[in-house]
């Protein structure tokens, strides 16, 4: 199995330090080649390797010297797995609430905060909160406005960029910048804002160059790359396997990448299936030493090596030649199929696993938890959905809504289930936290598009970079732009994002980790960023309300928490301001401390 299988923090709870002897398949590709080619020459002949799993099942892995000849047939039993079956319909059920019994309704303040963060990544303004509390029946028009706002695409783009393992640099030693990588990011934002039909959205990222819109194919080349690798055949091999793995995981919700060195140990995907899927992309990658990839796909006519399998996944051991084909599990591939055929087959109304995968991810983004617990793997090693009928209904809803993602969002947020009082709390991501802090202090720069902004970094961090890697955008107003527009360096995430579990863009990430650590607290308590925010907040509040503690506390609470303070909170706040003024240089500084407390509070960081 390959190193680039997407990460899944959600499985932390199943980890066992003390579990019994387990072999894992984590050797990355080139390493597999090294190991099985030289270190253990024995392994190069075909045989079966027994894997002991934690639940004491043993699975035979077929290691073949001729993966095409030894390819196992797909059986009817193989197709019986829930995720491989056609979507099941449940007669008489037409909405989410037909599948889940509705719970009591949330209060308007909770609801407006929830839906605004959910659809735009930003908190509602106090005016929006007051207006909604006066007219709670206006929920639908609030939702329509949020979906129509450019803030929607800016927020939801990060969800997709996590899946695309997107960064604007190569990674590895030189971590060179990809000067046009931002164009793909803007393409994603605009596609979401324009509600580009979702099938087209996916298709154009796989084969947009064959469909008259090449920018989306930046998806394929967003991976890490080592242009100075001394063997460019190895580089090409690693890149193509990454692309294939990512397309398999994002588009099919399967760990296709597990089949690059041997047949998939659990799902009916053979090693030959993997290289047949890869063959669709073989003519898009022909790297030149020290030359960067992309930014978008093109088809090379000359100099493209014949498509083959690779024995043990070793780039030095090409095997039998093969033709581009869909994984056999999913049926026949039409003759003369190219990448555009593949793209249209993946994102089609007849591809149940694609629809399920996307519906599951959408549910996760709205509710914090997916319906099938492992969103990057709906195969045998994944988890069955907790509510299979609902997942299938939602999956079918995507083409039914004419592939409009916005309509699907609306179906979800208009459900009683979404509007209930007790949804699982969602923690803001690092990007959302930063945007929210800039927003409540009235400093968010809403300029859209263009090259990523290089934020100032603490000296301790910038000192660890190579020369020319820590240039900062000279225009300070740019530093207050939304997080989606900040420069995404693969080897160095911004500390605020990294501390709050932004994935490392090494492989497709379908679900982020959520860690809670002391360094996060230090960042929000002590950083220059946090104190700049609270100083501005305090200055603005002070200018409006003077030293009227009740008005200050009320406004600060409305701004930061989208609700009125309780009487108890006002009293506690007054007491704090009085005492803190003695410890701080002046009243305004004490007020800034009050705001700092609000921004550090659990209520600010977790959305109900």
């Amino acid at each position: 199995m390959n190193a680039r299988i997407h990460r899944r923090g959600a499985e932390g709870q199943r980890s066992r330090v003390f579990s019994k002897t387990i072999l894992c398949l984590s050797a990355p590709l080139p390493l597999c080649g090294k190991i099985f080619g030289t270190k253990h020459a024995l392994f190069s002949i075909g045989f079966s390797l027994l894997l002991c799993l934690s639940n004491a099942r043993a699975v035979a892995i077929h290691v073949s010297a001729d993966p095409v000849k030894d390819e196992p047939k797909i059986t009817e039993k193989d197709r019986e797995h829930w995720a491989f079956k056609p979507l099941q319909t449940t007669p008489g059920k037409t909405s989410i609430d037909d599948f889940i019994a509705p719970q009591p309704h949330a209060d308007p303040a909770t609801l407006i905060r929830r839906v605004t963060f959910d659809l735009t990544g930003l908190p509602p303004t106090p005016e929006e909160v007051s207006a909604f509390i006066l007219h709670p029946s206006s929920f639908e028009s609030v939702v329509d406005q949020l979906l129509a706002s450019p803030r929607y695409g800016e927020h939801w783009a990060q969800w997709w960029l996590d899946l695309a393992r997107f960064a604007e640099t190569d990674g590895y030693e030189y971590d060179a910048e990809r000067n046009r990588a931002w164009q793909y990011r803007d393409w994603v934002i605009n596609a979401l804002n324009n509600d580009l039909p979702f099938d087209e959205f996916v298709q154009k990222q796989i084969a947009g160059d064959l469909m008259g819109d090449e920018t989306g194919t930046g998806f394929l080349f967003a991976c890490p790359d080592m242009p100075d690798l001394n063997n460019q055949n190895e580089r090409r091999h690693v890149l193509l396997n990454d692309i294939t793995t990512t397309v398999g995981s994002v588009g099919l919700g399967l760990t296709v990448g597990c089949a690059q060195c041997h047949d998939h140990p659990y799902d009916p995907i053979s090693q030959a299936d993997f290289y047949r899927l890869r063959a669709f992309f073989d003519n898009t990658v022909l790297p030149k030493e020290r030359k960067p990839l992309g930014p978008s796909a093109r088809v090379f006519i000359e100099g493209v090596p014949a498509s083959t399998v690779f024995v043990r996944g070793d780039f030095k051991r090409p095997g039998a030649t093969i033709q581009p084909s869909f994984p056999r599990l999913f049926g026949e591939t039409p003759p003369n199929s190219d990448r555009a055929t593949l793209a249209k087959w993946i994102a089609s109304k007849d591809n149940a696993i694609f629809l399920r995968t996307m519906a599951n991810r959408l549910w996760q983004q709205h509710f914090g938890q997916p319906l099938a617990a492992i969103p990057g793997d709906l195969g045998h090693q994944g988890e069955a959905p907790t509510n299979p009928a609902l997942l299938d209904w939602l999956a079918a809803e995507l083409p039914r809504q004419k592939w409009s993602l916005k309509k699907l969002h609306k179906v979800i947020v208009m459900s009683k289930h979404y509007q209930q009082v007790a949804l699982p709390r969602k923690r803001l991501t690092g990007e959302m936290l930063r945007d929210a802090m800039l927003s409540v202090s009235g400093q968010l720069n809403l300029k859209t598009g263009g090259p990523g902004v290089k934020l100032p970094l603490p000296k301790e961090i910038s000192d660890t970079l190579l020369k020319k890697q820590h240039e900062v955008n000279p225009d300070a107003t740019e530093h207050n732009r939304r997080s989606i527009h900040t420069f995404a360096r693969r080897n160095l995430r911004h500390p605020l994002f990294e501390l709050f579990d932004r994935p490392d863009a090494q492989m497709s990430c379908a679900r982020r980790n959520e860690s809670t650590t002391a360094p996060q607290a230090l960042m929000l308590l002590n950083s220059e960023f946090a104190h700049t925010i609270t100083a501005k907040l305090a200055a603005d509040l002070n200018a409006t309300h003077g030293s009227d503690a009740t008005a200050l506390i009320t406004d600060a609470t409305l701004l930061c928490l989208s609700r009125q303070p309780t009487k108890q909170e006002v009293e506690a706040g007054q007491k704090f301001l009085q005492k803190q003024t003695a410890l701080a240089p002046d009243f305004q500084a004490a007020l800034a401390d009050y705001c700092l407390a609000l921004l550090n509070s659990n209520e600010f960081v977790y959305v109900d």
Partner: protein, 457 residues
Amino acid sequence: MHTAPTTLSRRRLLGTTAMGLSSVALSSLMAESRSHFPAKAKRVIWLFMHGGPSHVDLFDPKPELIRHAGKLLPESYGTVETRRKVAQNPLLAPVKLFRKHGQSGIEISDFLPHMAGIADEMCVIRSCHGDSVNHPQSVYQMNTGSIQMGKPSLGSWVSYGLGSENADMPAFVVLPDPGGGLKGGPPAWGSGFLPATYQGTTMRAGDNPILHLQSPQSSARQRATLDLIQQMNAQHQAKREADSELDARIRAYELAFRMQSAAPEAVDISRETEATKHLYGIDDPTTKEFGTRCLLARRMIERGVRFVQLYSGDTNGWDAHENVMKNHTEYCARTDKPVAGLIRDLKQRGLLEDTLVIWGGEFGRMPMSEKGVGRDHNPWGYTTVLFGAGVKHGHVHGATDDFGLRASEDKVHIHDLHATILHLLGLDHDRLTFRLNGLDQKLTGVEECHVVKNILA
């Protein structure tokens, strides 16, 4: 005199992931017996010589290389994969004289007079090998077992497996070279697919050892703000059902507050004696910087940090392509005395008995010359030196071929080295696992590897 282990593990206090709550609960139950079997080493200091020190000029004498200097590598050695196409270059004799040292008679070159003085403490592994001729891939492999970016580092596996011995300090601390520019960057000490809480925390000498550690406010003023935060959090939680996530965040703030005093105390060397400072070379401008970090490493482990990693070398570091004599003269001068001082200091304090110290780079260097007097990367055979807990002293393990090109006897792959380090810490590399994509991942990967039993004391 290290801090006694506390029942409140760092994982309990510092590390809760939303999804990892059950594992946190599990770990706190098991805080008393985390290891798989009794450990010889309780903690690790890893002195990482970034860029690749030359084994054939430091720890691996090769008389044949002197005899064949200026000639080509014999054809019987076959094709050699190199980074800079040096396979056809003439062989370069060791640029320094080797001598036998100590009762063990271990041969060490004149580049390292101070380390030569602790030869009898050394376990010299001359047969290490890895899989890539490139820096970043090799830095990753030495740290994570994998030549690809993004896997969990050894330090993060150890802190995941064992936690910290001090609730106020991170379990895994990295002291980077102040010159910066590590090839491959921070992913070298990253936690990969393990929760972020297990990644290395970078610390520096001076007033601000951890990012954002220093409050811009007085302690009393910050405490008052923190009290208000916790008051808000208590009210927030009271209105909601019991939630360990919210609870974890409340505790993380208290830990952060304590770290603000614990971490600066850990890096404050003002009360160390002049004799100690001299031992580490802190009184000499050449050795002051690395000596200070070596002393910090001792102070960290005294305070219960489980795993400390120091890097020597900026973006070029020990990477002696141009001129081995010039490069290694400079880097040995900076590090030789501090390393020897650290080992002597650990020994005199009784810490060497249960502390493992590792000295080595991401690879060694080629016997062939580059540009006449330099040497290219060599992952096929090189030296790593271990000191302290659980390993033989005054001992040499394995060998490279006659020219120092490839490991040839008792070979130790990086995975074997990792398995051995985990073993010394009481962890079985086959049982220290993390579930990802339905499979239990481990540091040493899929292929067979072995604890190097012959070096165990």
